[in-house]
Structures are given as C-alpha cells and as structure tokens.
Symmetry: C2
C-alpha cells in the first residue's frame, strides 16, 4: 500500500502535500479513537471500561501534542500565506487545520485535562442521577462543567457573546444572534401549526400500533431490508445494536450505524435506522481523494444533522415513502394486517407534545431545542444559576408545549449532552431540521420529481444529488459556504416553514 | 480516572514510576492496534481494509518513534544502572523496555518500512497462491522475506547462528541449539509412540463423528457453556467468529477469543475454543497492578502456547474431561446418542498422520514443527534456497510422517506465517506443548488430584495454580526464569515424553 499516493491529484501544492503527509499520524489516531468509540458502545465487555479510558486519554493527549507540534504549526502558517496559489481542497485543508490548531492552542493543558476528568466522572454520575431522578447529585458536576465552559469561552474568544465561542466549536461560524434569528423565524409557524394540528385531529396523539410488540430478529431483518432499499452499501458499513443509536465513520470505506430494539412500537427503531443512514451516507459519499485527511468527514454537526433529518423526515415520514416501504413492512410484520397505508402514515406521524426530546415528533422537536438553547445561553452569560435550571426547565416546557415534566428524569436530567461537556451543541439539531427542508425545495427546483422517485423506490438520483451538492466536499468548505455553494443560497428557514405548513396543514393522503 | 494511580504500589522507585508514566502513550497505541486487529478479523466490512492499513501503519511508526525517543532511551539507561535498588517488577519493566529498544533501534527505518510493505503485499499474494496451489506466484515474496529476515538477523546480532536472532524475537533467549536439543529429546519418543499407536488401533485413524454435521447456533451454545464450565469470565471477554481462531488482549479486563464453525466434525470448533481459552486465561490472570504497562502481557509465545495446549490437550483431551463435559454435549448435540464416553474420547483423540499442521493431532503435531524448523534454519543459514523448499518440504513430510502432500496447498503454502514475515515463530509451538506436560507433572507433585478436579468439574484450583505459578507475573521474568520460578526447574522435555507414553501407550479408559 502506498500511503503517500492516497490523496495524489488533490493536494498538489508542495506545502499542502507536505502537510497531508505530516499530519497523517493524527488521522491514524482519530481512526483508532473512532473504533474505540464504536467498540465501547457495541461489543466491549464491561471489564474493559477502565483500560479503554486510559488508552483513550493517552491517544487524545498524543493527538493534541502532534497537532500543536511547532513544526506542524509553522507549516500551516506558511501554507496560509500561500492559499492564493492553492485549489479549493488545499485551502480547505489549511482552513480546517488552522481552526483546529487555534482551538487546541487557545485551551491550556490544565483546562483540557480537568475537563476530560470532570466530564468522564460526570457522565457516570449523570447516569445514576437520571435513573433516580436526583438532580442534587448531578448539580455540583453541572456547576463545574458550566464553569469550565465559561472559561473555555474566554480562552477561545468571541465578539459578542461568550456562548458564541461554544456554538462555534460544533458549528463553525455559528453565533447566538444567528440562533436567535433562526428561532424567531420558525417558532411562530411551529406554534400555529401545532395548534391547528391538535385541533384538527388528523395526525393522532395516540395510535394503537404504539402498543404492538415485535420480534427483535424480525425487526432486524426489516431494518436491513429498508437500508438496502434506500441504498446502504453493506460492503462499506455495518448495522449493530447499542443503547443509543449512532453513526461512526472509520473512513470513507467503513461507516457503521447502530439502532436499538425496545421490542414495542416499531417506528422508533425503524426511524433510528433511517436517521443514521442519512449520517452514514454523508460520510460514505465524501470524495475518495480526501481519504485519510482532515477533510474526510462531514463539515459540521448542523450539516450532518440536515442529512439524517432529510432521510428520517423529508424522505422517511412522507406519504410517498410509506407507499414505497409498506409492502416490505407487511411482508415481515404480520400485525400490520388491517392497517392501510394511510394508517401507517398517521402512526409514523403521531403529533404529541411530551416532555422528552428524543421521543418528540417532527412538529414539537424544535421546541425542545429552543428550551435548551435559552437555558444554555443564560447559564453561560451568567443570568441563570445551575440551581435555578430545573425550575426554569419545567416552567419553560409548560409554557412552550403545555407539558410539565413529572420528575427530573423527564426534565433537566434527560439528556447526556451537558454531562459530557457539550454546551452549544443542541442548536445544531435545529439547523439540521431547517436545512433538510431547504434541500427538498432545492431538489425540486433543480431536478423535480422528488416524491415520484421516493414512491417508485428510485433513491439513486436522491443519493447522487446529495453527493454532488453536499457530501463529496467533506469539510472542504465552511458550513455557510457549503450551503450556499450546494443549495444556491444561504440557509433560509422559510423553506422549513413552508414545508411544515404544507405537510401538516394541507394534508395529502398517501 | 486517575491514570497515574493505576500501578501505584508496584512501580515505586522514582525512575521506574517515571518510566511507567512516560511510556503509557505506547501502551495506548498498542491497545488501539490490538483493537484494530480484533476488529479487522471479526466485524470490519471489506471496504475498510485500505484505510485500516493506513491507520495501522501510522500507529506502528508512532509507536516506534515514541519508544526510540532519546529521552525515553536515556531514562531506561539510567534505570538500568539502578536495578539493584529495584523490586522484581521494576527490574522486569527495565528488562522489557531495554529489550524492545534494543530490537527497534538495531533495525534501520528503511528495513522496518520495507518489511511492513513486503509482508502486507505478501499476505495477500499468499492467500491467492494458496487457494490456487501456485508456489511460483509466492516464490519472489518468500525470497524477499527470507532476504529481509537474514538482514534483520545481522542487524539484531547473534552469537552462534543467525537464526538465533529471529528465534529470540518470539521467545526471549531461545537459540537454534536449544531447539535442536529439544527436538532431539522428544522426537524418538514421538516416533516410537506413533508406530505403536498405529499398530494397536485403539486411537482411531477415522471416526464416524468426523462426518456428522452440526447446527452453528447450537454449537455456539455448546462452546459458550463449555467456556462457562472451565471458567471464562464473560464480563471480561467475548467469543466471536473469525476465519482463523485467535485470542487478543485489550487489557487485563478485556480479553477476546474467536472460533470458527465449519458445520461438520464438531471437535474442531470445540477444541479451538478450549485452546483459545488457555491463551485468554493467561492474559486475564495477570496481576492488576501491571495494568497498562509493558508487563501486562504474556511473556513469550512459547509460554503462551503452553497455556493454550495445557487446556486443549492436558485438560481437554483427557478421559476425565470427556466425563466432565459429556453431559453438556449430549444435552445439545442429539447426534451423540449411541456414542459412549469412551467413543467420544476416541473421537477427540483421532491419531492420523496427515499433511496439514492445523489438523494434526497431539501425537503428530510436533513432526510438522520439526519440518518447519529444519527448513527455516537452512533458509536463514543459506544452505537451502527458496527454490528448493517445496521439494524439501514434501520429502521431509514423507520421511517424517509417511505422507506426501498432493499439492502445494497441502504442503509449503499451508501456513500464513512466512508471508507475514514470521520466521522463527514455529518452534514456540513445540515449547508450548512440552511445557504444558511439565505443568501437569508439577501440579501433581505440588498439589495432586489434577484429574479428580477435572472429572468433578472443579476447575478453580487449576486456574488458581496457573495464576500463582505463571499468569500473575505477566512479562516480569524472562521465559526461562519464569519457568524455573513457577515450575521449580527449567524446561524439561522428559515430562512431555512421560506424558505422551502414559497417555498413548498405557491407555486408560474414561
């Protein structure tokens, strides 16, 4: 195997090709960390936890040390001065490395290590606190995590709001102001639509299929057939089982997804699989020339989520998809006898305001994100104390969705994110939802016949469109540039509003 | 997690504890490489091969770079001067590192990279050559590999024979002379015993159970129950499926084994599992204080193989074990009806000279190793050319076992070892076989009642004995020191001769 030849033809500028060679050990470490992440959540025996944590910590330190190596930093600085002579991939390489170096070098070692230590403990504490609903146990950890996040924001720097520095970690270029503008654009439509939907009753709040149990091996077969139908390349990926579904890329040729099987209410495992397929397809369709470089991954969480939501909601929860997939479902799931395609569509599109984000439907999901955004922003700016979060959470939930969590497990303790240190992450879910709708409208205006393709099980043109407009570039362009280049205009939440109103107010039967 | 505390209490000398901290990234890399090895042979999709090879190559280079870092080397040199003030673990740490540094530093970068490149290609070429029986395709690779091995021997240095340098890589301290002495001690007994066994006919050459097919899921259940019976700790390990059975340690808390299912002749998969259990138990019973250090692995291939052969042959192929395990087998394998325990014992102990090493029985196995040892030694000293190997192989096989391979697939192309660069590895199998018998006799003289324990399914005292005498020390002592310390005397092949004669000539019925 000629490692040096992997990316030939794309990284031709001498400085760019020198960088690619020089930093490949970092890619090797990241590959190993991804594999550890996959293994830890799928097959690792319990006894492996402690040594895995040691190995992981060592590799993270090594990665940081290699990235901040003075010669590497100098090389990237030199390359930056030469970007005018570089192609778009080479410029992308320099941009991504400069950003990673800026982030890593602005955070002092002690802060990085303290954060790693605190969050590792906090995740374990949170798990226990969640199952017993005991916020007091988690509170001191959340306080330290918020404190560390505020320190991080100061080190990272920001122009207007300290929360901006954290948002940027997950979505390059995102700011508090942009998130506020985004919610201001979509919340009125969501509120209005939700009211009307609940008044009309077409989309049910409950459906008998929710209580129907399935056989796990049968459902596993269904999931695999659905994945084959929409085009999952089995020779370049896997489907496994984990407590929480996820996607992990070990390279363009090996992208793995997971789902879980609760044994009842089969839409959950089915839509988890379709969601993760969207994430996986992004990683699988990155240009092979970017293999084993820092550009060989999705550019941001928001763009990534746009891909998963696109397949889950825009494709998967449409009447056309129900028509496409229902023969397959009926073949394996005997209990569907007596349910028409329309009934299946209604089951897949239950609209029920509830306290739990991961159980939320298409219409109420963004209310959950808005709540977390508000609380995070106030925590970081210091206008809300950790002490006050549980009550703020419950009141806001009641105000937004008319639901008051019965306990902290259903409230402030439901998400893992904060315990793992991820503050500033949630808004990327909303960006993803909004972009997913925009992709649909762009597809319709450029190519047309989207739902005809879905209905006739012809998913290849859709995959190709995504490859050409988004996937192939990996992290070459900043998220905002990629959107503008791929979709012909910046992110525009009006498409999402239009999609929501069309779907939920002008009901089209399957 | 307090990484620094892991090994507290064992590495107390300031230089030793500094070393342990300093080299932990190497352990982290080795953990990652092990996980990649496991994944690559169990679950990795085909599309992942190329990027996995890149990541692996990068981590191997990083590992070498960290080990040969001048500050690390200096620290180990300083520690060496202080060994008189150190405990046995600290001295073991210094010995292992000094040895690793000596090996790595004596091999120039170019040689290491060329070897990695050649062997990676050669394994792929060998696979094809084997399936088509085409030695000519593999020949140029074997020539380069032998040439590289001879170069390595020169760089590594040796006192008497260049092959010594290669033997030492797999078994610290092993020499050509010692291997010759070993074979001289055991071959006459094996030859004589084999003749007598074939004349007597008690141990069959063929058994009807060889042709009986099994259901894979049922056999998987049997294997798991047998593992539970002999004491595999499921919370600290796994059983998976791979093309060739293997054991891999990701740490003392996570040791994974595999087997394969051919669907017929169930003793193969059953004894593969028992064999790998022996390897796994060694890694699982290393003292926890050695966690995440270079001492946390079995000390050599020979000692490792003694553990696997001990469980496979000394325990597993005994009449007492047949008695212990047969109710479990009968419960699941309906086709055993009508076969007595004695018949099962005979089936498990078929003696049939054949051309294939991995299918060889307890009595003929070492003939295969002797053949490879002779050929390797002559290749390395230059008295045999690669051209001449196929014929030398076939003639020697005929001379030793009266069997002439029908083709090169059954002959010179059967093993993966040479294609992967492993020349000097085979003799460790014989060391393992011989030591396994010695452990039995030592157990009998120190504790007694070995086969009573086996018969009554009481494997805990056996596991405990192995832990105390061998396992707990990891790589703390050189193989020869460990044997003498653990078994009260140096390796002595007479125990093996005694075992062979007792088992095969004084037949005890189950």
């Amino acid at each position: 195997m000629a490692v040096g030849d992997v990316s030939r033809g794309v990284f031709v500028h001498p400085l760019a090709s020198e960088i690619v060679e020089r930093i490949r050990p970092i890619w090797g470490i990241e590959h190993a960390l991804s594999l550890m992440g996959w293994d830890g959540r799928t097959y690792m025996p319990r006894g492996g936890v402690e040594e895995r944590a040691i190995a992981r910590a060592e590799l993270l330190v090594l990665r940081r040390r290699l990235l901040l190596n003075p010669e590497t930093v100098k090389l990237v600085e030199n390359a930056e001065e030469a970007v005018d002579d570089m192609n778009e991939f080479e410029r992308g390489l320099v941009r991504v490395l400069k950003r990673n170096i800026r982030i890593e070098s602005s955070l002092p070692d002690e802060l990085v290590y303290e954060r790693a230590k605190v969050t590792e403990e906090a995740v374990a504490v949170w798990e226990n606190a969640k199952s017993s609903g005991n916020f007091a146990a988690f509170k001191p950890y959340l306080e330290r995590i918020v404190e560390l996040a505020r320190k991080m924001a100061e080190h990272l720097g920001y122009e207007e709001h300290p929360y901006d520095a954290l948002l940027d970690l997950f979505e390059e270029g995102l700011t508090t102001k942009k998130v506020e503008a985004l919610f201001n654009s979509i919340m009125p439509t969501l509120k209005l639509t939700l009211e009307k939907v609940r008044a009309s009753g077409y989309y049910p709040e409950r459906h008998p299929l929710e209580d129907v149990e399935y056989q796990v091996p049968v459902m596993d077969k269904v999931n695999r057939e659905v994945l084959s139908l929409i085009g999952f390349p089995w020779e370049r990926g896997r489907l496994d089982v984990s407590a929480h579904p996820f996607t992990i890329s070990l390279g363009i040729g090996d992208v793995r997804i997971t789902t879980r099987y609760e044994g009842v209410d089969f839409r959950h495992t089915l839509y988890a699989v379709i969601h993760e397929f969207g994430h996986a397809l992004y990683e699988l369709q990155i240009d092979e020339a970017l293999k084993a470089t820092p550009l060989a991954s999705g550019v941001s969480l928001g763009v990534h989520e746009s891909q998963s939501r696109f397949w889950e909601n825009i494709v998967g929860r449409s009447p056309a998809f129900v028509e496409a997939v229902s023969p397959l479902l009926r073949k394996h799931l005997g209990f569907l006898e007596g349910y028409s395609d329309e009934e299946l569509y209604r089951y897949f599109n239950i609209v029920r305001p509830g306290p739990i984000r991961v159980e939320a439907d298409e219409l109420t999901y963004n209310f959950h994100i808005y709540l977390r955004f508000k609380i995070e922003k106030e925590l970081i700016e210091g206008s809300l104390k950790v002490d006050e979060v549980p009550e703020a959470w419950n009141s806001l939930m009641e105000e937004l969705l008319g639901v008051r969590p019965k306990n902290y497990k259903e409230g402030v303790l439901q998400d893992i994110h904060w315990s793992s240190g991820a503050i500033g992450y949630f808004p990327t879910y909303t960006i993803g939802t909004v972009l997913a709708a925009q992709i649909l409208y762009r597809y319709e205006s450029v190519k047309g016949g989207f739902y005809d393709s879905v209905r006739s099980r012809d998913f290849a043109p859709i995959r190709e469109y995504l490859r050409e407009s988004i996937h192939r570039w990996g992290s070459t362009f900043k998220p905002e540039e990629l959107i503008e280049k791929g979709l012909g205009e910046p992110m525009n939440p009006e498409y999402y509003n239009r999609y929501i109103m069309r779907k939920f107010l002008e009901v089209k039967l399957p």
